[in-house]
Point group: C2
DNA sequence: ATGCCTTTGTGAACGCGTGCACAAAGACGG
DNA sequence: CCGTCTTTGTGCACGCGTTCACAAAGGCAT
């Protein structure tokens, strides 16, 4: 029991909740920092604080991986780094292609975070003939005509799309056709992919709009607080912003 | 202090669920495309398909905004564009500062998606004196020494951090000190901010690691299906973590 | 060896988000 | 003006994720 190695949750591969998977890289980063400082063990409280999460959540997350902690002591940093790395598949090499070598694509190619954990930029691809052969981040830009060959030759299964939105779906289709099964999409487009292909999107515009929403809310809250009690009989400042009726009702 | 205790009830924002807010920009984008094609009305089914979500979800989302549809007909595109824009606060101008003008910062400065919806890059800031005065995306790079002045002068409330991870928290503290209340963080660091400040993070490394996890799982599933005895109870019903999982989590 | 003290691992409750299914509402043809 | 047909808006149930709270587990001092 102590070795809970093959203690696979009844529902086989589905054992680890998606939300937990999304936090594992966060834990790994914090653990790596501890490892570099030669810290031998860490408690769930300390590690949770470093990762910016709740300690109970962290313990539950780790419980999905197995019992890797020691009660009364905490977790062995090195061991945990290894276990999480293995769970995330970072002990193997993941060649990645970047399609669309504009400003953003070039920035990603130069981004150190890529290479840091088993990810290797295998190729840079662009549709512009004028760019073909140019060196970006020490790699030659190759033409999109050779996309399928490049992917198959290098055994690439992860693709990053940094093209304009108008080209994204077309590129995506070709990537999937060539065997890519995981896509990180920076283009402002909803990609359609067949079952079995994972897509994650990073959308700067959407992030800003979400921030703007909260920013606006903060501004109106502030205004309501300072701008006068108002004869409408609304309580000036009740702790709960609840009961707030939409400011403008359509006629 | 400033131990990021972002305790967000998620339902606090004027009754609009956080998950809905995160989808509004998606709807807005689809609606804008329809508007440009002069499509007068759209059904929840059509719009949902264009935005890549479930139609029931879309209708429920809109129900939080009010009853802007017409039964038997659908939604008026122009009206909905306006309502969502207003709700998201996009009818006003949002000056933004970008701190850290490396490859990524420069890429963002050039990114068209910024200016597209009320967002305006008000200033570029970097700690490197050698960069001060250089033109990036038509704007002069200013030194971080003037950060507070720049922010106050331009009335900026949204900051984008594209510095190395080691500088992120320091920059963050100064931004907050200068009055910034919304931060989009690209640095691979957990930022601590006081209450009242929103932080959203975009972490390329984490996204890749999540993809790698699923990629590894797909590989082992495949292996088990081909290599192992079939009747071990592994039906191919596994549709995978399909769908558009937002790549950015609220901090 | 024993008892105390720390920390893990987890059962259970709760709350949010999602999707179903259907009644209400309105357009439209006759 | 009425019936039919389309589509919205939503009550309800379900499942996932989060959090609390605590018993079990193990180190450590005596």
């Amino acid at each position: 029991m102590a070795t809970g190695r093959n203690h696979r949750p009844a529902t086989r591969s589905r054992g680890i909740p998606e939300a937990t998977v999304a936090r594992l890289p966060l834990y790994l980063r914090a653990l790596t920092a501890l490892s570099e400082r030669s810290v031998p063990t860490v408690s769930s409280e300390e590690l949770a604080s470093a990762a910016g999460v709740n300690s109970a959540k962290l313990r539950k997350d780790f419980s999905y991986l197995g019992s890797y902690g020691t009660r009364g002591v905490g977790y062995d940093v090195e061991y945990l780094v290894y276990q999480i790395s293995r769970e995330l598949g970072l002990t193997q090499d993941w060649p990645v292609v970047i399609v669309g070598i504009g400003n953003l694509g070039a920035a990603l190619a130069n981004y150190g975070g890529f290479a840091s954990r088993g990810f290797r930029v295998a190729a840079l691809i662009d549709a512009d003939h004028a760019m073909t052969g140019a060196q970006v981040a020490g790699l030659p830009v190759q033409h999109v005509d050779d996309l399928e060959t490049i992917i198959r030759t290098n055994g690439v299964s992860i693709g990053v799309i940094t093209t304009p939105g108008s080209a994204a779906q077309q590129v995506c289709d070709r990537l999937v056709g060539a065997g890519i099964t995981s896509i990180l999409n920076f283009a402002p487009t909803v990609l359609s992919v067949p079952d079995g292909v994972d897509v994650r999107k990073v959308d700067l515009s959407i992030e800003l709009q979400i921030l703007a929403f909260h920013e606006q809310r903060k501004a109106t809250d502030e205004l309501a607080r300072n701008g006068g009690p108002g004869p409408s009989g609304a309580p000036p400042d009740d702790q709960g912003p609840e009961g707030d009726i939409p400011a403008v009702m359509p006629a």
